[in-house]
């Protein structure tokens, strides 16, 4: 019974995308995308010349993803592996090692405008980096000096660079470069696709700016679950606060949550949102304690599934802007 249903579903999928199936072949470029947003970019650039495997799928959380043997097999078989970089994919190194792949691992955020993590001071970090960077003989004792306990080294940069559409344009250009390097015969097509999609992104960027301009300056502070919107804030002029930091890996501390609740009570926030990749419980609790109404669901680090409101990157950004605007202006 269940098998017949599955078969029926497969058949209807085929009839929906006959062109894709007809052109998919062993000749296609085999691409692994680390998460759903990158997969969407890759689809727009690669068209029907590429077969894309997505590691962290719709609504998945790349920060805490655990790679599977099948992922290693996909990476092993890939011609190109597209990743975000900036330590978003904590699983990347062990996955690449396990796969033994020879494929280029392309960090799409390279060349974009990258933001340092603002509110997480690391007093030792600068020193450490100096030690590591300096190759001179003066640092020969570098392996011996004592390190304090409890010193934790997180990423220095905010990995959520795709939340700036201008950075998304850099991602797309990097994908075109990577595809051209791996498949010279398809290069003209990749460039043309990237240009066409890049124009859509340019229009999206303008559309977001126009939409945000309609929000009064004193109503531009909002709450989400984790610090995923630093780039959006930087580019479009909204202020985001979150109980969790730039990674969902470490849970929010009680002190952070209490501080956030105080800020909200001091009338520092206009709206609060749950995110598609995280448990809504904490946000619902903060909303309940402060009387803010949850204004909807934002898509931070992953697209929705195909039937959802954020099945593509462009739909995701539009959905987020519309949701934010609706909650602020509706309140």
């Amino acid at each position: 019974m269940s098998r017949m249903l599955k078969l029926a579903a497969a058949v209807s999928a085929m009839t929906l995308f006959p062109a894709m199936l007809a052109t998919a072949s062993a000749e296609n470029l085999k691409v692994v995308a680390s998460f759903s947003i990158i997969a969407d970019f890759a689809k727009n650039v690669g068209g029907d010349r590429v077969d894309i495997t997505t590691l962290v799928g719709p609504n998945g959380d790349a920060h805490v993803y655990e790679p599977k043997p099948a992922d290693a097999a996909a990476v092993a078989a890939a011609d190109v592996v597209l990743v975000n970089g900036l330590q978003l994919e904590g699983f990347l190194q062990r996955l690449v090692e396990a796969s033994g792949t020879k494929a280029p691992i392309v960090e799409l955020s390279k060349g974009g405008e990258v933001l340092k993590i603002a509110d997480e001071p690391h007093p030792h970090e600068e020193d450490d980096d100096d030690d590591h960077a300096a190759g001179e003989a003066g640092h020969a004792e570098g392996g011996q000096h004592a390190h304090e306990e409890g010193h934790h080294h997180h990423g220095e940069y905010d990995p959520h660079a795709w939340q700036s559409v201008r950075n998304a344009e850099v991602y797309v250009k990097n994908i075109a470069d990577a595809f051209c390097a791996a498949d010279a015969a398809g290069c003209d097509g990749y460039r043309a696709n990237a240009d066409a999609y890049g124009r859509k992104l340019g229009a999206l960027d303008a559309e977001i700016r126009a939409a945000i301009a309609g929000i009064p300056a004193d109503k531009r502070s909002i709450i989400t679950s984790h610090d995923a919107f630093g780039y959006f804030e930087h580019d479009y002029g909204l202020a985001f606060l979150a109980p969790e930091g730039v990674s969902t890996e470490s849970e929010a501390s009680a002190a952070d949550v209490a501080a956030l609740i105080r800020q909200i009570r001091d009338d520092k926030a206009s709206a609060i949102f749950v995110e598609n990749i995280t448990n809504p419980r904490l946000i619902e609790q903060i909303a309940g304690e402060t009387g803010l109404k949850v204004g909807g669901e934002l898509y931070s680090d992953a697209l929705s599934d195909a039937g959802g409101p954020a099945a593509t990157y462009i739909d995701m950004m539009r959905h987020n802007v519309a949701t934010i605007k609706g909650a602020i202006l509706g309140s």
Partner: protein
């Protein structure tokens, strides 16, 4: 002795005149804890130097469990009714770009968990739950307490004595549910209780429950019908049943290991197979791997996520490629060890220590070292008596550099 070390790349930069490989070796520490099959003792071996560091006397021949952190090794002595804690002497702190290893002498911490017939000891997030079959009681203690020498446990009881298991899962405890009709039979499910011991939700059915493992954020139990898969749910653990695929031959897993670095589970399946399980997969969740002979023991590689190892009764060690799902290499190591006879007869056991796979050879009184990269013999270490159960702890300085 404190040995801070940097990642290999950083070392190469900081000390440009010396080859990084020898430095990495200097900064590694690996110890093997070997329980004798006949004598009540655990021998501690320096895996890099090949020397015996110490020997601890127990009440009876033990089975061994190491903690996730590697700081603690437990010697479970079922008939003697005690679990003895040994501090491995090696502790490791990961600071992302570098790590610090602390190396001290191994010692008994003083912690002893007492009760009738301890069997499975399971760690979850730094809390150990030892199940005492003879009482149907789980005794729970943190690693911090164990390293401090404390034996103060919290107890959670089930309805009856059973060959059971418990997992301290955050604010909840997962407990095997005894078979009420047949007290000697294996448990029939998993009951979730909260901190006060009050049942949460229904008992999740798991006929003939035996075998448990964690990999990444997944915890699983093996049942006759498939696996119970436990994840962090909304307020309480969420448990779903993953049935064995229709295409699998008759059989079940009764021992499970969790992958390290890659998320998967490795289990026994019939006498001459193992099964690779990805509970998250839509298809091929179960991949069977045929072995040339009956299986003696198996282990996962915590250093090289791609590999696991299986020993078969013809004396061969097999390197299992968990990505491809097939045996990649085989190496004859010992005389045959037949699986005829009692399950607990002295037979080889496997551990992975840094660059080496280590296999005990109880009837020859030695450990075989196999180079994990070349899969060739790399030496032997003599251990008096019948070296049998083995665990390794340590760190090879393979810090995963995040760029």
């Amino acid at each position: 002795m404190r040995l801070p070390f940097l990642s290999t790349a950083a070392l190469a930069l900081a000390l440009p005149l010396q080859p990084a490989a020898s430095l990495a070796a200097d900064l590694s520490a690996w110890r093997l804890f070997v329980a004798d099959r006949a004598e009540p003792k655990v021998t501690v071996v320096d895996a890099l130097a090949g020397t015996i560091l110490d020997t601890f006397t127990l009440r009876e021949p033990a089975s061994l469990v190491r903690s996730e952190s590697g700081r603690t090794v437990f010697a479970v002595q079922g008939d003697a009714g005690v679990v003895t804690a040994i501090a491995s002497g090696i502790s490791f702190e990961d600071h992302g770009d570098h790590g610090d290893i602390d190396v001290e002498a191994p010692k008994l911490t003083g912690t002893e968990l007492s009760g009738r017939k301890p069997s499975h000891l399971v760690e979850h997030d730094g809390a150990f739950a030892a199940f005492f079959d003879g009482e149907g009681v789980a005794r729970i203690i943190s690693e911090k307490a164990v390293l401090g020498g404390s034996s103060d446990v919290s107890e959670v009881s089930t309805a009856a004595p059973q060959h059971g298991v418990a997992v301290a899962y955050g604010a909840h405890v997962l407990l095997s549910e005894p078979n009420a009709e047949k007290p000697d039979a294996l448990p029939v499910g998993i009951r979730t209780v909260d901190a006060k011991g009050v049942q949460v939700g229904d008992v999740a059915a798991c006929p003939d429950l035996h075998g448990e493992a964690s990999s990444g954020n997944l915890l699983v139990f093996a049942c006759a019908t498939g696996l119970l898969v436990v994840t962090h749910g909304d307020g309480a653990p969420q448990i779903r049943h993953l049935p064995y695929a229709d295409g699998l031959p008759e059989g079940k897993a009764t021992t499970l290991l969790g992958g390290r670095g890659l998320q998967y589970f490795l289990g026994n399946y019939g006498p001459d197979k193992v099964v690779l399980i990805d509970p998250t997969a839509d298809k091929d969740a179960f991949r069977l791997v045929d072995l040339p002979m009956r299986r003696v023991h198996f282990a996962v590689d915590s250093v090289r996520p791609r590999f696991a190892y299986v020993f078969t009764e013809d004396g061969q060690l097999h390197q299992l490629d968990v990505v491809a799902g097939r045996i990649a290499n085989s190496l004859k190591l010992t005389e045959p060890y037949s699986m005829d006879g009692h399950w607990n007869d002295p037979r080889p056991r496997i551990a992975v220590a840094g660059d080496h796979v280590v296999v005990t050879d109880p009837l020859q009184g030695k450990l075989h070292l196999v180079d994990a990269a070349s899969f060739a013999r790399a030496g032997e270490i003599a251990v008096p008596g019948k070296p049998y159960n083995i665990v390794s702890v340590g760190c090879s300085g393979r810090i995963h550099e995040t760029e």
